[in-house]
């Protein structure tokens, strides 16, 4: 794969309820990303947005974000998945040679829409929707139970992940304030309200408002724009089957295949990774993903020291538990990985990070997963 550089990024501070409108939010984010690279709107050759019509409460929601999103008279399109999928499309557009500077923006404002109702509309309309039994939360509960039963994992081991991410989030000033809990203990996590047994409130990545943007450029342009770009070395994405009964919920087939594809195109293995930013909808998903990617053996994810100064730091920014703005969450993981590689993660910087991975996901129990391999460029 030819080198494509990440040359700019921006994301707004996540909040349970941002007090300004969506168009303002889009404009601020896009403007922030352009400013971070010292570029102007006229430099953009393509814009890919990432929202969901159901989350926005508006059909063809991208049609209304043309001006604030920097897409006026620009080759534009929209991906209705997670932010990193939109980055994938932008990456393809750059690799094709048709475009020289791509902007990706993603995000939503769950304070304005009932997040769980939109999940209902994503279920199979014949067999599942009429019963209203299945949603993100319920599937997460089943996934956690399957994982614990399969490998004999204790609930404390999973709570530990939530504690780590909440504590990390406290160091990240852009994280959701409600998730910034510097003094949280395993007991606090276990004693919080049960959302879907055995998932408790503090193990769940609560939806919050947020928006993020990223700029991509091919190698030559990237080096003109910035001295320390971060290169996209590899990408893999994959979708497994939908029905939970057809899947082994204790593992992530989609992430396994996606990471295999990403590592193959990057020419590295999981051992070469210095830091990981994974989109975990629930604390246990971080463990399942780290096993699927190959950071740990199956069932041994909880044995891995993934603290900021650990063997392999995972989610030093606090992860999705530190702030989950639907559509933007995966893109924020990418941005945080970029920050780690550029040494700009103040307060939660991992030492000597050269190679990072960042992931995104869509669907129940992460049915569709995407993984990026990012490499430090410049000095």
């Amino acid at each position: 794969m030819e080198k494509v550089g990440i040359v700019g990024y921006f994301y707004v501070k996540m909040k349970p309820e941002l007090d300004y409108g969506r168009y303002d939010l889009v404009f601020e984010t896009v403007r922030g990303a352009l400013d971070s690279a010292g570029l102007k709107k006229k430099d953009l050759t393509t814009v890919i947005s990432c929202t969901n019509d159901y989350y926005d409460g508006r059909t063809i929601s991208n049609a209304f974000c043309v001006e604030p999103g920097g897409a006026y008279l620009v080759d534009e399109s929209k991906v209705e998945m997670d932010g990193p999928h939109a980055v994938l499309y932008a990456l393809m557009r750059i690799l094709s040679g048709n475009h020289k500077l791509a902007l990706v923006w993603a995000g939503s404002t769950p304070s304005c829409f009932p997040y769980d109702s939109t999940q209902l509309y994503a279920t199979d309309p014949t067999w599942e929707r009429p019963t209203e039994l299945l949603n993100q939360m319920v599937s997460g509960g089943l996934q956690m139970k399957a994982y614990m039963n399969k490998y004999g994992i204790k609930v404390e081991d999973i709570a530990k992940v939530a504690v780590k991410n909440h504590k990390n989030a406290a160091k990240n000033e852009l994280a959701n304030p409600e998730a910034q809990l510097p003094n949280i203990s395993i007991n606090d996590v276990l004693k919080s309200d049960i959302m879907s047994d055995p998932v408790t409130e503090l193990m769940y990545a609560q939806p919050c408002d947020g928006m993020a943007a990223l700029l991509l450029a091919p190698e030559k342009q990237a080096l003109k724009i910035t001295e320390n770009p971060v290169w996209i070395k590899g990408v893999g994405w994959n979708q497994e089957t939908y029905y939970l009964g057809d899947r082994n919920l204790h593992e992530s087939k989609a992430m396994e295949l996606a990471s295999k594809m990403a590592f193959k195109s990057a020419g590295i293995t999981a051992k070469d990774v210095d830091v990981a930013e994974l989109f975990e909808h629930f604390a246990h998903e971080e463990l399942i993903f780290s096993e699927a990617i190959g950071f740990a053996e199956k069932g041994k994810g909880s044995k891995l020291n993934s603290e900021i100064n650990g063997d392999l730091p995972i989610n030093p920014s606090g992860g999705a538990i530190g702030g989950n703005a639907p559509c933007a969450t995966g893109l924020i993981r990418m941005i945080e990985a970029v920050k780690q590689l550029q040494g700009k993660a103040q307060g939660y910087q991992v030492k000597d990070a050269k190679i990072a991975v960042a992931s995104g996901q869509v669907g129940f129990c992460a049915q569709n997963s995407i993984l990026y391999v990012l490499e430090k460029g410049g000095n």
Binding site: I60, K78, N238
Partner: protein, 415 residues
């Protein structure tokens, strides 16, 4: 950077106002089957990645490709979802092109699928939210809620189209009869194409003009139907295309340049009262796609065009804006039979969106038909040999455009 992308096949499901005989995934797999059976030797396992899209609000199903995974044949395969309103199909096709053109390792053959089963939901409700969001902007003008509701019902596709139609009619000095002529050509063409919705082999201009108005100047007999249907296109590399297809179709130019939202006039994003028949975005899209394809004189070099025209005035407008005819001459061309199946530059020989409109699929059916015309496999094949063709789409609030230019020769830089 990049590599040549080819189309090797395109397929359709049967279209009708209610495909209640099949579920949404079954309808989609009809299109996939039709697409794959045209390429002997190619099986589902040869497909490396999938791109898909539909308009979720129109059938009340959000991200349906998740539960449709197995019917698409996408289990344990990379899949990307692209949705952009009316242009969804075109955007999916363009994403299919880019997935191959990017040259990602292990991704050579891509199946692009677009679909819509409007009978499952309520498209008008879905479209109302396009206009309803402007409620605050409209009420700030002092309009009472009753009037607002009336505005909303006219504010969906046909509301915009009738403004566009009257603007275009004033500028090009055409009559309602000229609009009806376009409809007659489309529906008669549709009668010869197997999958279309409105097949009317004996329709006359008078029949169209005898139907009542929906919104002046558009009559009931002039507007597109609401269809259920799906479309699939198969993209691959030049090497594999030569192996699999007798006549590989080279995708040489793609563009989707967005115009401003304020085009409708009252949008919160701007106060500009623009002429909705101006369509700067489509002109720039055409320029970009033609430039990539190395086409300097579209009027001379394009042999066949599929333009996205649910309403007849749009067909006349688009063929001019895309550079296929001089401004304000389209009507004369339709009169002279230039755009007929046996004409010099046939337009919408498939019957077009005017005869069949499964919204999410429609903008993909345009490049799909344009590709099949080059292969010589179209349902209503034109008489002349087609070397270069284009497929176009519009959507959003008439501010989004998709363009795909294809030929039987590769792009110059890859020759």
């Amino acid at each position: 950077m990049g590599r040549q992308t080819c189309v090797i096949s395109a397929g359709f499901s049967e279209h009708a106002s209610k495909r209640s005989d099949v579920s949404m995934p079954e309808m989609v797999s009809e299109a996939i089957e039709d697409c794959l059976k045209k390429v002997p030797g190619l099986e589902l396992k040869d497909i490396d990645a999938f791109v898909n899209g539909n308009m979720p609000a129109f059938e009340g199903a959000n991200i349906p490709e998740l539960w449709m995974t197995d019917w698409l044949g996408a289990r344990n395969k990379p899949l990307l979802r692209v949705t952009t309103g009316g242009t969804t199909g075109g955007s999916v096709a363009i994403a299919g092109y880019y997935t191959v053109a990017a040259g990602l390792p292990g991704v050579d053959t891509v199946l692009a699928v677009a679909f819509e089963q409007q009978s499952q939901g309520d498209t008008s409700v879905g479209l109302a939210s396009v206009a309803l969001g402007e409620m605050t902007a409209i009420s700030s003008l002092g309009l009472p809620i009753e009037k607002l509701r009336r505005l909303v019902s006219a504010g969906a596709a046909i509301g915009i189209a009738s403004y566009q139609a009257t603007n275009y009619m004033r500028k090009s000095k055409i009559t309602e009869e000229d609009l009806a002529r376009v409809v007659v050509q489309n529906r008669r063409n549709a009668a010869k194409n197997w999958y279309t919705h409105l097949k009317m082999p004996n329709l006359t201009i008078q029949d169209v003009l005898d139907t009542p108005y929906i919104s002046f100047p558009l009559r009931y007999g002039m507007v597109c139907p609401a269809s259920d249907g799906a479309c699939a296109m198969l993209f691959t590399t030049e090497e594999k295309a030569k192996e699999w297809a007798d006549i590989p179709v080279y995708v040489n130019g793609v563009a989707s340049v967005a115009n401003q939202t304020a085009i409708v006039g009252y949008n919160a994003a701007g106060a500009g009262q623009l002429d909705p028949s101006e369509q700067l975005g489509s002109q720039l899209s055409a320029d970009l796609a033609f430039k990539q394809a190395g086409i300097s004189f579209p009027r001379k070099e394009i042999d066949y065009a599929e333009v996205y025209a649910p309403f007849p005035n749009q067909e006349l407008m688009w063929v001019e804006k895309l550079g296929l005819f001089e401004m304000n001459t389209a009507t004369a061309m339709y009169k002279a039979g230039v755009t007929a199946v046996n004409g010099e530059l046939p337009i919408n020989s498939s019957g077009g969106v005017n005869s069949t409109n499964a919204i999410g699929a429609s903008a993909m059916e345009r490049p799909a038909e344009a590709a099949l015309q080059i292969m010589g496999k179209a349902g209503n094949q034109v008489k002349k040999a087609v070397h270069t063709s284009l497929g176009h789409g519009w959507g959003g609030i008439i501010n989004l455009i998709t363009m795909m230019v294809m030929a039987d020769e590769p792009q110059r830089k890859f020759r």
